[in-house]
């Protein structure tokens, strides 16, 4: 799990230069790019970026500032970081020329701004500096008199150049471990919140498909496996195989063409407002059907193989020979043993299922986690990609763990050393 998080992080963060170009456009100057990278903390080495992404950066900043930090959420859903002073007021600073201004948010909601030049500290070389929290959610270090130019990008307003900007930045976040993977570079809002909604939508879609697929595939698999090599077996397994290997988007397109364009039965795309996904249940039909077809083939194949193997075994022959009616042989003796393998394999297959969900969501425009990940990937919103990927990996690893446990439980002959 730890390794996975490192691998994901390394792949995603391998080219921050591209990130800046992608988000800010191809026409930024090198100075602008450098400023942006510095403000986002991308100029730091990979390891320290990884640590602050995984465990948060607020504790590092707290040590530098010497006061506890507090995160508040504004009415519009944006997050702001403030320093909490001894009397409970919240503080942020900014630098205008040579003077340090402090913005004080009092407990009763009043905001006032005053000059706060007493905070400057002199270091050995005689340069005045100060660690504080800026109004851009970073812990920053200001230096008095350093006429360093920085470029600031303001969403919706473009670039502005200021002098006397901070010399060091620590973008504040609580870290993935504590449920805060950072701010989305695309929307400026916290990733965790939008991720949660998307995850719920995806789980609804996957859950419905799962409930339909499981019994159907198991039953068809048992039918196919009963008589290996018969006509019904051939038809079922070849159709199943075809559905499971055809790319999801192709299946989706076929279904849209047949069901929606030619037969005009169900809507061919999903358009949801706030109350997704329950608003228009008929819009769920095609995505679920696509997922069902894809998964059906796979589960069917496994069940068939397992069933066929059981039917060849000696105790089934014995059961037949001692004169038991065949439905009893099949249901009491064969099916019970044949289902052990498929159930665990299905759990392992969740990995694939999630890949399928990504595509199905894109085909039908369903507002799920997969769509969110694709949008983030195209935009190079790396905080969102990392968080989304980690969530998916966690689900996959979790189900694999459950599958292992279930397997030892169902089949006591297996013991892991």
């Amino acid at each position: 799990m730890f390794l996975v998080s490192m691998a994901v992080f390394m792949i995603v963060e391998s080219s921050p230069g591209n990130v800046a170009k992608n988000i800010l456009g191809a026409f930024i100057t090198p100075e602008q790019e450098a400023s942006f990278l510095k403000q986002q903390g991308f100029d730091k080495p990979l390891t320290s970026r990884y640590i602050s992404w995984f465990t948060g950066s607020d504790w590092v900043a707290e040590m530098k500032i010497g006061h506890p930090l507090k995160r508040i959420t504004t009415e519009k859903g944006y997050q702001e970081w403030w320093v909490e002073s001894e009397n409970g007021n919240l503080l942020q600073w900014n630098l205008k020329g040579e003077d340090l201004f402090v913005t004080i948010l009092e407990q009763n909601g009043n905001i006032k701004e005053v000059i706060d030049n007493d905070r400057w500290q002199k270091d050995k070389k005689g340069i005045s500096h100060f660690w504080g929290v800026s109004n851009k959610n970073s812990a920053v270090k200001w230096e008095k008199g350093s006429a360093k130019e920085t470029w600031n990008y303001v969403y919706g307003r473009g670039w502005g150049k200021t002098t006397g900007g901070p010399v060091e930045y620590i973008p504040l976040k609580k870290g993935f471990l504590r449920g805060d993977p950072g701010i989305s570079l695309r929307t400026g809002r916290p990733v965790a919140k939008s991720l949660f909604v998307r995850l719920r939508n995806s789980l609804v879609l996957a859950g419905i498909a799962f409930v339909i697929v499981m019994p159907l595939a198991l039953i068809l698999g048992i039918i196919a496996g009963l008589k290996e090599g018969s006509l019904q077996d051939r038809i079922l397994s070849i159709t199943g195989m075809s559905f499971s290997v055809i790319p999801e988007f192709a299946t989706g397109i076929f279904l849209i063409l047949i069901m929606s364009t030619w037969l005009d039965l169900v809507p061919g795309a999903t358009v949801f407002g706030e109350k997704a996904p329950w608003e228009r249940p008929d819009m769920l039909i095609l995505p679920v059907l696509t997922l069902t077809l894809i998964e059906l083939g796979y589960v069917l194949r496994i069940t068939r193989a397992s069933m066929a193997e059981v039917m060849r075994s000696a105790y089934i022959r014995t059961a037949y020979l001692k004169g038991l009616p065949s439905f009893k042989v099949i249901f009491v003796h064969a099916v019970r043993n044949a289902l052990i393998a498929p159930i665990t394999v299905i759990m392992l297959h969740v990995n694939w299922l999630m890949g399928g969900i990504v595509i199905v969501e894109v085909v039908f425009g369903y507002p799920g986690l997969g769509q969110y990940l694709l949008d983030s990937a195209l935009y190079k919103d790396i905080n969102a990609i990392e968080a989304g990927t980690m969530i998916m990996v966690m689900i996959a690893v979790g189900t694999q763990l459950i599958a292992d446990i279930l397997y030892t439980f169902l089949n006591p002959r297996i013991r892991y050393s």
Binding site: L3, V4, A7, V8, I11, V12, S14, S15, N18, I238, M241, S242, V245, I246, P247, E248, F249, A250, I253, F254, I256, L257, T261, G268, N351, W352, M354, G355, G356, V358, I359, V362, V363, L373, L374, A377, L378, K380, I385, T389, M392, V393, A396, V397, Q400
Partner: protein, 298 residues
Amino acid sequence: MSKKKKAFDSIKNGLNILFASKTAVIGLVIVLFWVFVALFAPYVTGYGPMEQDWMNPNKGPSMAHPLGTDELGRDLWSRLVYGARIVLIVLPVTEDIWLPGGTAVIGVLVSLLIGATLGLIAGYRGGWADEIIMRFLDAMMSIPIILLYLIIVAAIGASAVNIVFAIAIVGAPGVARLVRSLTLDIKTRDYVRAAETRGEDIFFIIFREILPNAKGPIIIDSMLRIGYAIFAMGTLGFLGLGLPPPSPDWGSMVAKGREFIMSGSPWASLWPSVAIASLVVGLNLLADGLREELSRYQ
């Protein structure tokens, strides 16, 4: 002479196995069809893949355009054929440099190279080498495959070479696992013991003694893998991470054509979907049939 005869025999043997299975033959026919049209692309179509007939955009099949045209009036059949070329026959490195071997095929070959080496070392050496390699590969494998493709291509950008790179990274852990399990089995055989006693070095043993004896399952596995790679290429193209336009990339064609389904011209998205589906199904039928026959043969 005898060597020639031996080679001939082994080919004949292989063909016998192949033709014994109906499934494999059907698969082979489908795959060969695509290889054929891709090889002779300029001869099976009268149009270039980027040639525009701007008088007839988004038309259905007709005499002039057997499968219809896309939104810019480009002939769909010729785009399909040249798309097959990119998948199976040539790898476009830049606009002018083309390497033989399709994008999917080369991707799988590279993943075979990396995966087989890792698997052989892990399986033969055992111990800490095995531990480290397999832990790392397990970590890679627990990331859902499409997602892995997505983040790799999103991070390094979309081009044919990068897609080869992505296919190789994604495929290597699976190959390594397979090769490792085969190696664990083969390394207990007598001829490996004999080579060890002769004092051969490790590279000779793993590449000359073990690898040739593991080739059957590896070949079948790589057929399936080419199928997956085509699948993945299509998917990436569909997600907008395929070869940059105007290349005739099947997945991108579907994605573009999808916008015109509702306005009554489904052809541009239908045909590439059919093409990908048939090619992947063909490869799977071929591999399945071969595997079934091989297991019976043994």
